[in-house]
Amino acid sequence: MITEQLVDLSRLQFALTAMYHYLFVPLTLGLSFLLVIMESCYVISGREIYRQMTRFWGKLFGINFAMGVATGITMEFQFGTNWAYYSHYVGDIFGAPLAIEGLMAFFLESTFIGLFFFGWNRLSRLKHLAATFLMALGSNISALWILIANSWMQYPAGSAFNDVTMRMEMTNFWEVVTSPWAQSTFMHTISAGYMTGAIFVISISAYYLLKGNHTELASRSLRIGSIFGLIVTFFTFHMGDESAYLTAQHQPSKLAAMEAMWETHPAPAPLSLFAIPDEEAQCNHAEIRMPALLGLMGTRSLSETLPGISDIIATNEVRIRNGILAVTLLDQLRQDPGNSSLRARFDAVKSDLGYGLLLNRYTSDISTATPEQIKQAARSTIPRVAPMYWSFRLMIGAGCLCLLAFILGCWYSLRGSIPCRKPVLLFIVLCLPMPWIACEIGWFVTEYGRQPWSIYEVLPVHLSVSSLSVGDLWGSLSGFVGLYTLLLIVEIWLMLRTIGHGPAPEPQTAPAPTPAQA
């Protein structure tokens, strides 16, 4: 028996385990490439300091990576344990990138991380650098495939419903892999990961500089991190804009909620800078708007309109009515698969099948849904506005603070002496949590904004869960949260301890380090 509570708990468990996992992933993505850069400096210049840097940041990388692997194991199996109907319904498409991720990325990353840590004395410099690079490459390829899978949930390209097997099936693998959604999400996500790695490096370096410890390592790390961070921030912002444009084109309900756009504005729509969205009255209070900006960004034109929430609900109500027909015809077709006129009628409304399934949440017999239930289902196609509106703005704000930190970091490390040295360094230190906030909230906007769908316009979340009991969910949820929290506390403590101890002292035989440029 699928109850609202079961669905909510399943969602909560997935959200929490994914968000815990994502505390570690962006740092792995970013720091691995920073390690490649640092080690390349070592291989090219031959100076011990860069090797020391690679090892020190590598140690922190290892602590973080262990947590990433630990929390990642759950993700591979959780679709089956908690989203069994989802796994059946879309496994034909969704399973493929997951399996490819294992073969192409996990093996690479996990094999070469062993050589990265333990191969220092067994590999030549160049070979060790190659191992580091392949490890970083593996992490990034892993992001590629999992984001192809995720993007397919947002933008289900290259697939079609099969009434015999009662599931979605792949029709074009290439379309799944190269969907524009996957490309922009991948670029946006990995560059945000690079920002995370860069902020991590420059914040800790700024802390050392403030304290006057390990200044040689810190100032070099600050320079590498700031320059790298500044470059990738522009990618993040650019691809974020691209993602928002695709959202406007393909997921109007998400965009409308993100922008608290209750009514359709005449083109080009204004951008809301501040508002207090009121879910009951379906309007905003105390709104400040920037004319025409949203229309320009969302449609890249002056004449196209962006639909507001009330119009979207009206459109979706029509689609739900079509969907009821699709569900009814599907039932008949499954009894009589050879009936070609039935099939023709089903094919005509097949694209609204998902909308019909939305009613499953309100009635066990979709064909006799009441107008009230249809209205309820139509209303449910819009995610809650206030959390979407504010979290989207919070993400952008946190990203902008990172940008400022990179600019200041570049300025400091290139100029050497700057006014207000202490406040600048302190600001960089305090920016440490910003990329994590931005990454977590960014995912919240993406996934919460996809509600009530697990596959956009194809499969409602309500249907996707496993047939478990609420007790099962409470048990597993508390198990995961308890263990993850415990491990997270240990991990942060270990990180802080390692940062406090600083890099291992130079080997005696090493050439004397040259003083920092600063």
Binding site: I63, A66, M67, A70, T71, I73, T74, E76, F77, F79, G80, T81, A84, S87, H88, G91, D92, I93, F94, G95, A96, L98, A99, I100, G102, L103, M104, F107, L108, S110, T111, F112, G114, L115, F117, F118, G119, W120, N121, L123, L134, N162, V164, T165, M166, R167, E169, M170, F173, R334, S466, S467, L468, G475, G479, L483, L487, V490, E491, L494
Partner: protein, 379 residues
């Protein structure tokens, strides 16, 4: 494109290969992890054990993750029905597996005894519980699992967690665990030295014998005490997957039908037994490399045997036998199977090559002297 029937058989083979690959590769570090608190008397000895697998355990574990992903991609109905049905068993596997990565990495960061013994316990749990549960899962698959589908093909499991822990399944679990320990002990014979290695030799000898005896016991029990499943109607092997279109009956001795029909298959249990005994002798004599090959062969045969016996079943249903999943009716579409086959053909060989290379680079005995010399860089 290959025809659907061939693709389905290939994918049955490939999933078998991934499960065997997991057992052989991850079996080394899981075996070592299980032995960790018992075989390592001092911290240095434990560090020798850990560092013998440290560069490889993570890559080895990917066999499991890829296996999970491959079942999702190739047998989505099996992935859905088995993992949600075995909910608490899976949860136990996940919660203990999670302890391994952190255990390996965090243990060496602080020298305090309590810190290290805590992580040793975590490594033990993360290494011993999963093989045990996987064995239990196989034991239950052989007996059939109480599940069915509703008319929208939603899998519904009607059993309980405690029912999974029945005597036959538990015995399968113990066989699996002892096989993993045997494998791990052989790995230690190969990669360590001194007293630790002497102890590993005894473990190899004893666990090899235990594995062999229990394997005979579980086979006889499966032969005489467990009813098998048989498809009693026609089944289409090349039509879209529909697990509700066949008739299945429960029948004593049905799991022997394949071996009777193709006597050549008897080579699997015979070879499994022979390699276990040979491995125990070689491991006991300190021939680590040869013993590892033998225990790998044990892994191969003992994982393959239940798969072959059940063929074409992959997950029989005890409550509604007609809803049993077979490799003919739980698979992905022909296109997906074909694409994933190409992907595997392209991607698996490089994995094997660089894994071998990594083992070569990191080869050699891990001795207390080695630990001392590289104190700061090792776990």
């Amino acid at each position: 494109m290959l025809d659907y029937e061939t693709l389905r058989i290939i994918w049955w083979l490939l999933i078998g290969i991934l499960l065997i690959g997991f057992s052989i590769m991850d079996g080394q570090d899981m075996g070592v992890g299980t032995l960790l608190p018992f075989l390592g008397k001092t911290d240095t000895e434990r560090r020798c054990m850990i560092n013998a697998v440290a560069p490889h355990w993570d890559g080895n574990q990917v066999w499991l993750l890829t296996g999970g992903g491959a079942i999702f991609a190739a047998w989505p109905l099996m992935y859905a029905a088995a993992f949600s049905g075995f909910y608490w068993a899976m949860l136990l596997v996940l919660l203990t597996l999670i302890l391994r990565p952190v255990g390996f990495d965090f243990r060496g960061k602080i020298a305090a005894t309590r810190w290290r013994t805590t992580w040793d316990t975590c490594l033990f749990l993360g290494s011993a519980v999963p093989p045990l549960i996987f064995g239990v899962a196989f034991g239950n698959l052989l007996q059939g699992v109480p599940f069915h589908f509703d008319d929208t093909l939603r899998p519904i499991y009607t059993g309980s967690f405690t029912a999974l822990l029945n005597p036959f399944a538990l015995l399968c679990g113990i066989v699996s665990l002892s096989m993993f320990i045997f494998h791990g002990a052989n790995y230690l014979v190969l990669r360590t030295d001194g007293e630790l290695r002497q102890r590993a030799r005894s473990v190899s000898r004893v666990c090899g014998l235990i594995t062999a005896v229990l394997f005979i016991a579980v086979s006889l029990w499966g032969w005489f005490g467990i009813d098998g499943y048989r498809i009693a109607s026609d089944i289409a092997t090349d039509t879209p997957s529909n697990p509700l279109a066949k008739h299945v009956i429960i029948e004593p001795g049905a799991w022997l039908r394949n071996l009777t029909a193709c006597p050549l298959l008897w080579i699997i249990p015979v070879l499994g037994l022979a390699s276990t005994l040979t491995g125990a002798i070689l491991g006991g004599r300190g021939r680590g490399g040869a013993a590892i090959l033998c225990s790998s062969l044990t892994m191969l045969c003992l994982v393959l045997l239940p798969l072959v016996a059940m063929f074409p079943f992959v997950m029989p249903s005890s409550s509604q036998p007609d809803a049993s999943l077979t490799l003919w009716d739980c698979t992905s579409s022909q296109l997906t199977l074909f694409i994933m086959l190409i992907v595997t053909i392209v991607l698996l060989p490089p994995v094997l090559i660089y894994t071998t290379w990594a083992y070569k680079v990191m080869s050699g005995k891990i001795t207390p002297a080695y630990i001392k010399a590289h104190d700061k860089q090792l776990y």
